[in-house]
Amino acid sequence: MYQYILKRLLLMVPTLLGAALLVFLLLRLVPGDVCVLRMTGGAGYVDPKAITLCRAELGLDRSYAVQFLTFIWDFVRFDFGKSMWTGRPILEEVGLRFELSLQIAIMATLTAIILAIPLGTISAVKQNTWIDYVVRGFSIAGIAMPSFWLGVLIILGLLITSKALFGSPWMPPIKYVPIWVDPLYNLSMTIFPALATGYRYSAVATRMTRSALLEVLREDYVRTARAKGLVQKLIIRRHALGNALLPVVTIIGIEFAFLMGGLVVTEQVFNLNGLGRLFVASVTNHDYTMTQALVMLVATIFVVTNFVVDIIYAWLDPRIRYK
């Protein structure tokens, strides 16, 4: 098992290096200049001397090789430097957003797990009954409906119903307060995006749970368990579900990592100051240092999540760890 873990850890290095090289090169292919943008908002006259000065200050006048090596060396030391756009430490800029994105990701994941595993199981067990049809319809609707659109509907629904019921329209707060400062306020803001995102997420996981469980239920060892006279509940819980969850764990892991940086539109709909919005802003502003840091952060989250998923795999399935 230790050898397995070590191997997985070593594989992270080339993956992260590849991501670093890719983002570094792609960013420099995009036309535009952070200095021009920062000084004029895009339009207007820029003093060439000020541009030269700005580029020198940001280290953009150095060769690409030096810039890349500096970026890698800083990353290894967890020194992300300063944002080229705001001039502030990247860790400070990312810190607050990371907290919010992590909370939403955890809440959405919990929503998805709470919905997906029971619904997927019921759907598989009650295959081709009306219950199965309802669950499948529910999950297909979740896959078909973009979470940001669901978010818009939720906000409009809240505005309209609160106006009808209480006389004045209510919508979730648009400014984040950490959960330990004001739990009620925090939840009134985060619960709706978590539900909107978690629903779509759960839909995928429900479908996966159902199909994986159906496959497992047809295995010989399940038939043997039935032949022994075990009750259905025990067969599902002890013998089938654990094995059926392998692909579901993968889906949950990938989706969780995706949620950390990929909720761009949902964040905009609910005015969440998360990593997705920062990502878009940093790309738009040609903020190389910030974009590089965010890509490396998300890549690290993906790599670590995959690592954790692999470990869970090995834990769930002894064949993997003894291979």
């Binding site: 000084m39 339009a43 906000i155 100051n273 738009t284």
Partner: protein
């Protein structure tokens, strides 16, 4: 700055007499109430917090309340381009020395938020940073002050500006809302201190900021205007999605957004909130232009360029577009309603403004035929911003379709779009001109020859046009200025057909009715210190 040689004597009065800009005026105000926190939404966050460096309104809306300025537009009459009042000075000065010396007496007892006194030396240090930026700093408004020779403080309560020549552009330039007064001591400590820190003497004190989320201010109890501000504090909440900003007002998470909303959002808010929402509107000192690249064939042919403007029905466009976009007023090169702007009768003489659009389009087709491009095809480059760029761009395509011209619209984000304009890699482009203090004499600098107008992208050199501009800025006679403005306008829009005005923007501000004391101005940069704002809750 090459523009400098054109900024010549113009008395302040000649900048334009007080104008009546058409806007649905604010409601009658009751007696102001103290207290409460104003929440408002801001579409963007500025790169730095230094007003001297930045050009975006995203800096003004959250940060202007922290600072005092030397002079400002009158908050009770913000629509006037000539009504300036003192903020830190005691009275507006009378120019001496043939209009070359302005002496400002500074209010005694003004304190910065850290309790240190604000003196004339702080004002001088701030304006020196703006006008003569030291090595390593950036000032966005050096060009505004090319007429200034020196700024001195003979004592703690006197600031003297000496000009190289009398200029009517000086006072409006001083009133630019970005001219925050900084502490001389802080600047001496680090000239770039204000890029990341806030410490002014304005009506509100900086409390805090969360990156990408909000900026918070609290009432400055030592504010230099007795009784102000009325609010206990404010919170500027960043929200880059317009739909969210509209819903925020509807759901009362914010009382106002100071930049402006499109008509549809106004109508939605009015329908949803009824008397709980108040709408203020004003003509806006921003305009979208379209500019052919004179260096590219067939746009080097004046007939082709004239055909493009003749094909556009501005009068009809105003009616239809004003229902869906933030554009409305038909105007020439000067801000509509200003004394120097063309009247409707004068406009109707210019191509593209004729009252009979069929006659205009027939002439456009004839010119294209004559130029040998009856089936002209080109790419219109546009900025990927919905309001009003995409809408106006799409409208232009339809207008040109009606004279047999086929146009493909390509849109780019702001950075690459302006990089393209600077490199003149386009056939025809949408462009804009947006200013704070209404000052047509300087605002039309956009149309000058490319080696003079810093933001002129058409790739043309027209010395006759430059001479008219120079003459206009040298004369002190308003009637003469007006006559020259007409010549300038005719040369730009007709004879040489260099660049064209589409429709002037229309500023629509729907806000919660409990917000009082704020008056709409023709610029989203003006009147934003929030000192007079109060909440009727």
């Amino acid at each position: 700055m090459k523009l400098s040689r054109y900024l010549r004597p113009v008395p302040i009065a000649a900048v334009g007499a007080a104008i009546a800009i058409g806007f649905a005026g604010p409601p009658v105000q009751a007696a102001p109430k103290q207290g409460g926190t104003l929440n408002f939404v801001v579409p963007d966050e500025p790169p730095s917090w230094d007003g001297h460096r930045e050009t975006t309104f995203a800096l003004i809306h959250p940060f202007a309340p922290f600072y005092s300025v030397l002079i400002k537009v009158n908050p009770d009459n913000p629509s006037s381009p000539t009504d300036f009042v003192c903020d830190l000075c005691t009275e507006m000065p009378t120019p001496a020395d043939g209009g070359k010396t302005y002496t400002f007496k500074i209010k005694p007892g003004v304190k910065f938020h850290d309790g240190t006194p604000l003196t004339a030396h702080d004002i001088v240090a701030s304006f020196r940073k703006i006008i003569f930026p030291p090595e390593g700093t950036t000032s966005a408004r050096v060009a505004f002050f090319v007429m200034v020779d020196s700024v001195e403080a003979p004592d703690d309560h006197t600031v003297v500006f000496k000009l190289k020549y009398p200029s009517g552009a000086f006072i409006p330039a001083l009133a630019t809302p970005y001219n925050f007064i900084y502490s001389k001591a802080k600047l001496a400590e680090d000239i770039r201190w204000y890029e990341k820190n806030v410490m002014g003497s304005g009506p509100f004190k900086f409390v805090g900021r969360e990156a990408g989320a909000y900026v918070r201010g609290e009432r400055n109890k030592d504010y230099h205007v007795a009784g102000l501000p009325y609010l206990d504090g404010f919170e500027a909440i960043f929200s880059n999605k317009q739909a969210v900003r509209v819903q925020a007002i509807r759901g009362d998470r914010a009382a106002i957004e100071f930049r402006g909303f499109p008509p549809k959002s106004r109508d939605d808010l009015v329908a949803a909130l009824g008397k709980d929402v108040t709408v203020q509107e004003s003509d806006w000192n921003c305009v979208l232009l379209f500019t052919p690249n004179h260096r590219k064939k067939p746009f080097d042919d004046v007939r082709v360029r004239r055909a493009l403007t003749l094909g556009v029905d501005r009068w009809g466009g105003s009616e239809s577009l004003s229902r869906i976009a933030i554009v409305k007023a038909v105007g020439g090169v000067a801000f509509p309603g200003h004394p120097l702007a063309a009247t409707k009768v004068e406009l109707e003489q210019l191509p593209g403004y004729w009252p009979d659009i069929n006659k205009s389009r027939a002439e456009a087709k004839r010119l294209l035929q004559e130029a040998g491009v009856p089936d002209l095809k080109f790419v219109l480059w546009n900025r990927a911003v919905d309001q009003p760029y995409t809408i106006v761009g799409t409208w232009l395509i339809d207008q040109w379709r009606q004279i047999g011209v086929t146009v493909e619209q390509k849109m780019e984000p702001t950075g690459p779009f302006y990089a393209r304009l600077r490199s003149q890699d386009f056939d025809v482009t949408v462009d804009f001109n947006c200013q704070s203090v209404v000052n047509p004499l300087l605002d039309i600098g956009k149309f000058l020859s490319e080696d003079i107008g810093n933001e002129s992208y058409g790739g043309y050199t027209d010395r006759d046009l430059d001479k008219i501009f120079e003459a206009m800025n040298r004369t002190s006679d308003t009637a003469e200025q007006r006559k020259l403005m007409r010549q300038f306008e005719k040369r730009v829009l007709d004879e040489q057909a260099h660049s064209f005005v589409t429709l002037w923007w229309n500023r629509i501000i729907p806000h919660r009715s409990y917000l009082k004391g704020w008056k709409v101005s023709p610029s989203h940069y003006l009147n934003q210190d929030l000192a007079n704002v109060w909440l009727d809750k």
